[in-house]
Symmetry: C2
Subunit: 487 residues, 2 copies
Amino acid sequence: MLSEELVYRYDRYELTLAGPREGNPYQDVSLRARCTLGSRTVQMDGFYDGGGSYRVRFMPDSEGTWELVTESNATELDGIRRHITCISAREGVHGPVRVRDTYHFAYDDGTPYYPFGTTCYAWIHQTRDLQERTLRTLARAPFNKLRMTVFPKHYIYNSNEPELYPFERSESGSNDYWKPNPGFFRLLEQRIDQLSRLGIEADVILFHPYDRWGYARMSHEQDLAYLRYAIARLSSSRNVWWSLANEYDFMLEWKTMPHWDALFQTIERHDPYSHLRSIHNGDLGSNYDHTKPWVTHACIQNPSVEQAPRWRRAYGKPILDDECEYEGNVPMPWGNITGRELVHRFWVMAANGAYAGHGETYADAKEELWWSKGGELKGDSWRRIGFLREIMEQGPGPLTPLEREWVWTRVAGGACGDYRLLYFGPHQPVAWGFGLPSGVPFELDWIDTWAMTITPVAGAFCDVREIPMPGRAYMAARIRPLSTKPD
Amino acid sequence: MLSEELVYRYDRYELTLAGPREGNPYQDVSLRARCTLGSRTVQMDGFYDGGGSYRVRFMPDSEGTWELVTESNATELDGIRRHITCISAREGVHGPVRVRDTYHFAYDDGTPYYPFGTTCYAWIHQTRDLQERTLRTLARAPFNKLRMTVFPKHYIYNSNEPELYPFERSESGSNDYWKPNPGFFRLLEQRIDQLSRLGIEADVILFHPYDRWGYARMSHEQDLAYLRYAIARLSSSRNVWWSLANEYDFMLEWKTMPHWDALFQTIERHDPYSHLRSIHNGDLGSNYDHTKPWVTHACIQNPSVEQAPRWRRAYGKPILDDECEYEGNVPMPWGNITGRELVHRFWVMAANGAYAGHGETYADAKEELWWSKGGELKGDSWRRIGFLREIMEQGPGPLTPLEREWVWTRVAGGACGDYRLLYFGPHQPVAWGFGLPSGVPFELDWIDTWAMTITPVAGAFCDVREIPMPGRAYMAARIRPLSTKPD
């Protein structure tokens, strides 16, 4: 924010107003605003930030001078008017991530975005020192998305109390779910903004089942009030994604499917910017029906990444298997695959025009497991995932899986025009003849997905029956048509 | 055969008779025999062996004196009578393999049999020298089943003509499918018998699509005549399994599903010993309906071995994924996985109470690929498959997959009472708590499936929450209850 009246495109404008303190201002006082530019109007909720302060936040997506007007049942908050001039975005700021080309993503300004996410579920509920260490790790890591919960977590390796609670809490530990805790939300916003500065999307998980504080069992009305408060506070952050729940199916006793649908619809109705929306399953057979119109992309927990083409067909949306098991060595079956296996799964997803997610669960005497608390990365996969990210970002665009032939249920291959990324996993051919472009001269690189080397194969190829391959496993072939090869 | 009138149980008795030579004796002369022991009668076809010789073969499965009587439309073959005394089986002879306990196998005399098969499709159509080398390799290898075709093979790496053809053939190369070639069948029988002496079941593939001689496109009547001839000749070999076809679905243009069903029914009706019957798919989505009553066990081609529990539920029969891709490095996607990956797939199948098959397709200047021609084994997997076979045979019995918990879609585990074989694949836990027996003291071994080591973990465990694990991948845990542990 340059000043109260000037704001960069996709940055946050914030209007602060003084208003009523009596009663429960969170529920009693209504506040919303309309921002108008020409014939376009964006409508958003304001929120009570405690101490008699009310705020309205706005993230303009178009340059020009917007007019903001408030509306409230409190006279001192009603009819406030501002002119906000939106100027072009700062360097490196591209806006919220959107769905592009059915199965993929791009920033609002059209810049490509390939999600390479990791998971630190409850990182903002750890000590300040640990939170800072997590940020330092993220600054060096290749990830551009982070799955994180709003609520603290009660689970194996997660027994600590948070420093701040999301709702007002008496000394005896009873919660008033009708009164959010502004101090907690300020911390959450600070962390989301810090992620934004690191180029990391915040995949904000609004509900989850691992709970001893009652957040998973609030009434439907309390859920709706919480959601609207979170939307009012957070939606002006360009890097927010809404993950309605983690393992929603483990909460069906408390929130039935119509409730989940209603919560989705509430986000859809009240988020002025249509941030991405999805929901994450627990049991492998319990994917949410991601064809429902309020779901923008499918989030899936499943180790069988070779199903990516099937999920694409089933949902017709971008596919994120954001929990294809974690690198680690803990006793839980979802948390002990090798780094090599996780890197393998990332490549299978990528070559199939879909996306995987990272997490680390190495046993640790201090119970500081990255997957939930953050801290430091200990594994082998994260650097290789960064290598894959570089390759994807060097490519000409999103990949479409080569899936029609019988070949591609065994080996993963993706195409973008005549560009090809073929990934062989445990296959180790000495030559390969499927999925090659025809009638186009191309260059070939061998990519060692583990050693992170790219070996150009001498010469150009055109209409060859086969390309040579090194006869080693966990290799990829990159095929770049000569005409469109970047410098 | 001790003499014409004395035969060991499960060995072959052969009656040779002189008969008509004129016309086409293969089709014109009918010959069958009934063998009776008490109230039991076994009926079998005889066959013309060329040169005016007719033979009837009989494999008695019960001790005692059987009476054999022939029946023929040729008077010199009709009403011949013999008394055949069957005495107890020779050491190491256990009879044909049968289905046992719904999902498993045992020899006819009850001896357990765990299939660990390999594939040399067209080995009997290679030079005699190469055939002998194949036998020498098999004598040193751990396999107890071999998939092999009756007909020669026309395919990549398989361009040679056979020395012997299964049907009479003119010099110009035209075949008379109504006249089998006895010389060829004698070779086939010799090879099947040699396998038997090595303890190897012959999984005899009766039809396959890779053909330039017309065998894949004979008429239905010719198919039936060929089948009955093959049954008459081969069914007295205790180690024969009938694999109706390899990749039957690639021949549906010539043989529709009702034809396949009729062929199965012909085997069922004419094989006096009810040898095992199955059929092998080509496309991964084209499994034959193995619930059909004439199928004794499901043969499957599929790289996704983690589907084993699903196949068990679907078919309710023993599951053999006898083509879960081959170890090798050729350009075809089904023929270039690493030895490590194939060993991994064997373990996943085994721990899930199912069975995998081996094949090797390493590129070779002489085009001598084991999978089709035999010769020598070059890979890394076969020794490790032998190691797994030893572990299975040391165990108390067939395994039932631990599949009800969410755990076992990620990690493979099988139980036989309180005995457990848990296989972790790319999972590398430092401890493990699922699928352990309760209330029973047990011993624990760590098994390195690749290094082929078994490491006993000191002490006994009972009702522990977790067992220690080494934190490395491709390990198994073997749990043996102390009370039933073998010496």
